[in-house]
């Protein structure tokens, strides 16, 4: 397998009702894996070209031979992922874009024929392969977790009744993990489909406004895939465990836009009326001047918190994680300079001898 690499795919969706009613013009064109964007307001330098690993033209419909279907996207991206997972590697796919861009459609899709997204298709193929390749000497087990990150809290979508958020803990050898996150064993695609379904429902009931939730929360569907092989010759048992992470990220319009000054003023000039946000303001003071390093990227919420904000994280922001700190080596430099001088004199003297 080639060195760990990141592949990037871009997909363009059809117009929605609002865009159609406004007679919107499509400024995107795709050719092969190149995406072209044309700015209708500019006369010169109007079109910019970007090359990705995949450019999916899904603006039209199945009738268009150029159209990239859900199946096609899965075949390019999902199949390779599954292959790597069987090899024992961890794989991850992230869907990124603004609210309404179609991330959930690409990742989950809909129940109707031909509309299933990457996740259901991947699960289906997984079990097909498992039932085909399973033998007394090669056994598989599949477990799934489904969690939602919303307002800096982690919710278990497979056990949504649990009150409060789940804690994210760190283990020195096992790494970070979500404590008490349900990991349910599944033996068929139907099992997974049911869990995904109930998990998805748990997502939308989190707030009264459905759009609100999905636009601000991240959903992570994880498949823990274990393969146990028994070698008859040596009587050794080996196990390979891989994690398949399927992430539907929150609407990217929430991300910090470091753009024109005018834009930033507009966004940031909202004055918080409640003193409950005093902590946030104070935190931001020290961010401007770091204590000798780079501040960790903040993953904050924008907008009123429905629950008490996490203060611990706020004071954490102030303590910066420096990059590699080196001791100033002025003394070393001086000594080495002396050594150079000494060496020169020595060689000079030896040369004369």
């Amino acid at each position: 397998m080639a060195g760990a690499s990141v592949k990037v795919a871009v997909r363009v969706r059809p117009f929605n009702a609002r865009e159609t009613s406004r007679q919107a013009k499509c400024v995107i064109q795709m050719q092969g894996n190149t995406t072209c964007i044309t700015n209708p307001k500019l006369a010169k330098d109007a079109t910019k070209h970007f090359t990705f690993d995949y450019s999916y033209w899904s603006h039209t419909s199945v009738k268009d031979p150029h159209f990239a279907s859900q199946r096609r996207v899965y075949q390019d991206i999902g199949e390779e992922m599954l292959l790597h997972a069987f090899e024992g590697y961890n794989v991850c796919v992230l869907a990124y874009g603004q609210t309404g861009a179609g991330k959930s459609y690409t990742m989950m899709g809909r129940q109707e024929a031909g509309q299933q997204g990457i996740i259901p298709q991947l699960c289906e193929d997984l079990f097909t392969r498992v039932s085909r390749e399973g033998s007394p000497d090669l056994t598989f087990s599949v477990e799934v977790s489904y969690m939602e990150i919303y307002c800096e809290r982690v919710r278990d979508l497979l056990n949504p009744k649990s009150r409060g958020g789940l804690r994210v803990r760190e283990h020195p050898l096992m790494g970070p993990y979500v404590q008490d996150l349900s990991r349910l064993a599944v033996t068929s695609f139907e099992d997974i489909a049911d869990l995904m379904d109930s998990g998805n429902k748990a997502r939308t009931v989190a707030a009264t406004n459905m759009n609100e939730t999905s636009s601000r929360s991240h959903a992570v569907f994880t498949i823990v895939f274990s393969q146990r092989r028994h070698d008859r010759l040596t009587d050794l048992h080996t196990e390979k465990v891989s994690r398949i992470s399927l992430v539907d990220l929150a609407g990217s319009e929430r991300a910090d836009a470091s753009g024109a000054k005018g834009m930033r003023l507009k966004e940031g000039a909202n004055i918080n009326k409640s003193l409950t946000t005093l902590g946030k303001v104070i935190s931001a003071l020290a961010e401007a001047v770091s204590l000798g390093g780079v501040s960790p990227p903040t993953f904050g919420t924008s907008g009123p918190d429905p629950s008490p904000p996490s203060y611990a994280d706020r004071t954490k922001q102030i303590r910066c994680h420096a990059v590699i700190n080196e001791d100033p080596n002025a003394r070393l430099i001086r000594e080495l300079r002396q050594e150079v001088t000494r060496l020169r004199e020595l060689l000079c003297a030896q040369g004369l001898a």
Binding site: L278, T315, R334
Partner: protein, 483 residues
């Protein structure tokens, strides 16, 4: 925006000012918004204009509401200044807002304490240690009020207790930063151009401090102090436990160090490795930094060495148990710090040895062993840069460029410092040293952009690359004179 003197008018005007100010800010005109807020001392609550006579508020209630409105005004001003990027003014207003919360508004002890602790960290960035200490002392005092409130619901208790303990540990960490920053700032004032304590400067600063002691008292009275009278005494008591002036000698430094060390223990009680790897390690790194800066003040080389040994003892086990797959950056930081610390210890042993008539075999062994350990950790750091196929990158990424080059440079130097009576071994060491110096020279030739990251090191590497081969030639000639 004319002044209005009547009782009724002022109250309404205040609300209008507040409103206008808010609107102006939201319409991209922050400067005018700031001006708008500066007036604000209204007696009548505007809602009262719509109340019947009997419903009107008591003077006490009225005054309470206006104080609250004024506090909010100050808070909005803080935000306006923040948007204008006038950070100092913003901090000032945050500070005053906090003060007023204590006095007038009612507050949640934990929330208030954390805000004060956070503000203290801001003051650290400005090296305002008196203000920082005051904020922290108040934070600790107010936080202890929280522990006294009995928890209402039983099923919340465990989580709440857990949260309380975490917040307490967070405040302890802020105190650690305070002590560390104070010591490090003092070091910057006292060190000479090779990082040693400058005795002349020490005398100078001590004399200067004597003069300033009177000025300090005046400064104290001007500062914005927290607390109603009952809190004041407790805050003062907390402040007296640690200095806010720069330590100028070992004794003074040690006192601050000990305060910091106590808070390290407190913070580690909650932030244990299992569960809080990143936090735990950062606390240990701070502990190591405390020892490092204390060592600066210690004159005796042996004692200094022992302090660095303490650093090794706390960092090495943690590094050994860390999975770099999940904690790559921390792993690299630890590798580098361990390497630098071993180097420092080796240097100290050499200095101690140089004072003796002759280096005895025990000291030589010690020096070599420390040098090898430094080399080991620099190599581990360099290994961490390799790709999954163990190949060292052709071109180094910006964030690791300098550390990688410095590691190579230090390894080169370390091979040059290994002591051996075996000439063959000496030649080998010189050859290795040469290879590492050559790496720097070659890399900078291939990637000229890298030069500015390692200018001094490159200059010296070039010298060594020029001199070492000749030196090695002569040595070889001495060994095999007939060839």
């Amino acid at each position: 925006l004319q002044r209005c003197d009547t009782e009724i008018g002022v109250g309404v005007l205040c609300e209008i000012f507040l409103d206008l100010g808010l609107k102006m800010v939201n319409h991209l005109q922050p400067e005018e918004g700031a001006l708008c807020y500066k007036d604000g001392n209204p007696p009548l609550d505007p809602s009262e204009h719509f109340m019947a006579e009997e419903e009107k508020l008591t003077d006490q209630e009225r005054s309470k509401r206006f104080e609250k409105a004024y506090t909010h005004t100050l808070y909005y001003l803080a935000q306006v200044y923040q948007h204008l990027e006038m950070i100092e003014k913003a901090a000032q207003y945050c500070h005053t807002t906090l003060k007023r919360q204590l006095e007038y508004c009612g507050y949640y002890p934990v929330e208030w304490a954390l805000n004060a602790a956070t503000l203290s960290q801001y003051y650290l960035t400005k090296e305002c240690f008196m203000e920082s200490r005051h904020c922290l002392a108040a934070a600790s005092v107010i936080f202890s009020q929280a522990g006294q409130v009995p928890s209402a619901e039983d099923n919340e208790t465990e989580q709440d207790q857990q949260d309380l303990r975490q917040r307490k540990a967070e405040i302890a960490r802020c105190w650690i930063k305070y002590c560390l920053n104070l010591l490090q700032s003092a070091r910057k004032l006292l060190e000479d151009n090779i990082g040693e304590l400058d005795l002349d400067r020490q005398l100078e600063l001590k004399a200067q401090r004597k003069k300033e002691e009177d000025e300090k008292e005046k400064g104290r009275k001007k500062a914005v102090l927290f607390g109603t009278s009952d809190i004041c005494d407790s805050v003062l008591a907390m402040e007296e436990k640690v200095s806010s002036v720069y330590p100028l000698d070992f004794q003074e430094a040690r006192e601050i160090f000990l305060v910091g060390q106590n808070y390290v223990q407190e913070a580690k009680e909650f932030f244990q490795v299992d569960g809080y790897v990143t936090d735990h390690i950062e606390i240990v790194q701070d502990h190591s930094a405390l020892f490092k800066v204390l060592a600066f003040f210690e004159e005796d080389y042996e004692r200094r060495c022992k302090m660095h040994k303490r650093r090794i003892d706390m960092l090495e086990p943690i590094y050994a148990d860390l999975n770099p797959q999940y904690y790559l950056l921390i792993s690299r930081q630890l590798q580098f710090e361990l390497a630098d610390t071993y180097y420092e210890m080796m240097d100290l042993k050499v200095a101690i040895g140089n004072r003796l008539e002759e280096l005895d075999s025990h000291t030589i062994k010690k020096i070599n062993s420390l040098a090898q350990l430094a080399i080991k950790y620099y190599e581990l750091f360099l290994d961490s840069l390799r790709n999954p196929d163990k190949v060292f990158p052709e071109e180094l990424e910006e964030d690791v460029l300098r550390p990688a080059m410095v590691a190579k440079f230090h390894i080169a130097r370390l091979y040059g410092k290994l002591i051996t009576s075996d000439s063959k071994k000496q030649l080998e060491n010189m050859q290795t040293s040469l290879e590492y110096y050559t790496f720097l020279v070659d890399y900078c030739e291939k990637y000229p952009d890298a030069v500015r990251a390692v200018e001094t090191e490159l200059e010296l590497s070039k010298e060594m690359v020029g001199l070492l081969p000749t030196r090695m030639e002569r040595l070889r000639a001495k060994l095999c004179p007939f060839i």
